[in-house]
């Protein structure tokens, strides 16, 4: 470990002569779900680096690293000499960029933009020119995923979430009520598959699949999914 100073910042170096981080994994080590890959290579998982990043960024600093297989890894933690106060937490803690990005996602599956989409999306039906907000429901057994999606959708001002369900059975009840116009649907649910819900939905309902399993994509678009969001290796799909 070493500490040095430049005119504006301090640099803390943590260097090892270890096994290095495989090139293929370097892009994702700060990913909060990187741990999900532990089962694949238990000895090599670098744990908790997303937390490191979060801690350092709170200080207005940054973390980067260089690594070479079997030579070692060096992390550089840069901290400003004077703490620049970050913008006060936004109301509800919602980062501004996430809204912008989510809008981009929506545009990508907008019918007007669909001609660029090439394959898969052709049969999708998103009632894009809806005057009011779309009524949506979220079906996912992970409360965290539901909460994140709800936040994003609230921010988008395009969808109002009228219900959440953690199981196919709960989702069926929701679908029977004044029908949702858009359903954010997980595939692996405790009591069945998200696909089981499709026959229960009204014909003009849009379905956005939210799943960690890529192999469902083709089937989803066969079912005229409006979009397909992939969760990164959440343990319980």
């Amino acid at each position: 470990m070493s500490l040095s100073a430049s005119p504006e910042r301090y640099v803390i170096e943590v260097k090892d002569r270890g096994i290095g981080i495989p090139a293929a994994e370097q892009a994702e080590i700060f990913d909060p779900f990187f741990r999900a890959f532990e089962h694949r290579r238990p000895a090599r998982a670098w744990l908790g680096l997303s937390v490191v990043k979060s801690c350092i960024e709170q200080h207005g600093g940054s973390v980067r690293f260089t690594s070479e297989a079997n030579t070692g890894t060096t992390f550089f933690v840069e901290l400003p000499k004077s703490l620049r106060r970050r913008r006060k937490a936004r109301p509800g803690g919602r980062p501004r960029w996430s809204l912008r990005r989510f809008r981009a996602t929506r545009l990508a599956c907008d019918p007007a933009a669909r001609s660029n989409c090439g394959n898969g999306c052709a049969g999708a039906q998103v009632p894009a020119a809806h005057a009011g907000k779309l009524r949506g429901i979220i079906v996912d057994d992970d409360p965290l995923v539901r909460s994140v999606l709800r936040d994003l959708l609230d921010a988008s001002n395009e969808v109002v979430i009228v219900g959440e369900a953690g199981t196919v059975a709960q989702a069926r009840l929701l679908a029977r009520q004044p029908g949702p116009e858009v359903v954010f649907l997980d595939v692996n649910l405790p009591d069945g598959s998200g696909f089981d819900l499709l026959p229960e939905l009204k014909p003009n309902t849009s379905v956005v699949f939210v799943t960690s399993a890529e192999e469902y994509a083709v089937h989803a678009f066969d079912c005229e999914a409006a979009d397909f969001l992939l969760k990164r290796s959440a343990p319980s799909g």
């Binding site: 070493s2 100073a5 270890g18 779900f33 070692g72 996430s98 965290l144």
Partner: protein, 96 residues
């Protein structure tokens, strides 16, 4: 479609990460810290690992930070470095 999936993968994982940070409501309580003292204390706390060394120019390194959170971050980096260089030597180098 593959490209769209990759892009959405990134969006979802980032938002989940932010949500986790937010749900944990990690407090941030900054105060004055001398980074030199701070780092050398951390290295001293790892006396069972003589391979770990600390290198720093003389003088003071005054900063403002949350000691708890900084320690959390640096401890993580140190323990990873020690864990993954098991059986090898671990030595600091000068900042270029």
């Amino acid at each position: 479609m593959q490209r769209a999936i990759v892009r959405m993968q990134a969006i979802i994982s980032e938002t989940l990460f932010l949500a986790r940070s937010r749900m944990q409501r990690l407090p941030f309580d900054p105060g004055p810290i001398d980074l030199r003292e701070f780092c050398s204390q951390m290295v001293a706390d790892h006396e069972e690992n003589p391979r770990l060394k600390f290198q720093c120019a003389a003088g003071r390194f005054p900063a403002t930070g949350d000691a708890l959170r900084l320690r959390q971050a640096l401890e993580n980096l140190l323990s990873n470095a020690l864990k993954y260089s098991e059986g090898r030597w671990c030595e600091p180098e000068r900042q270029p």
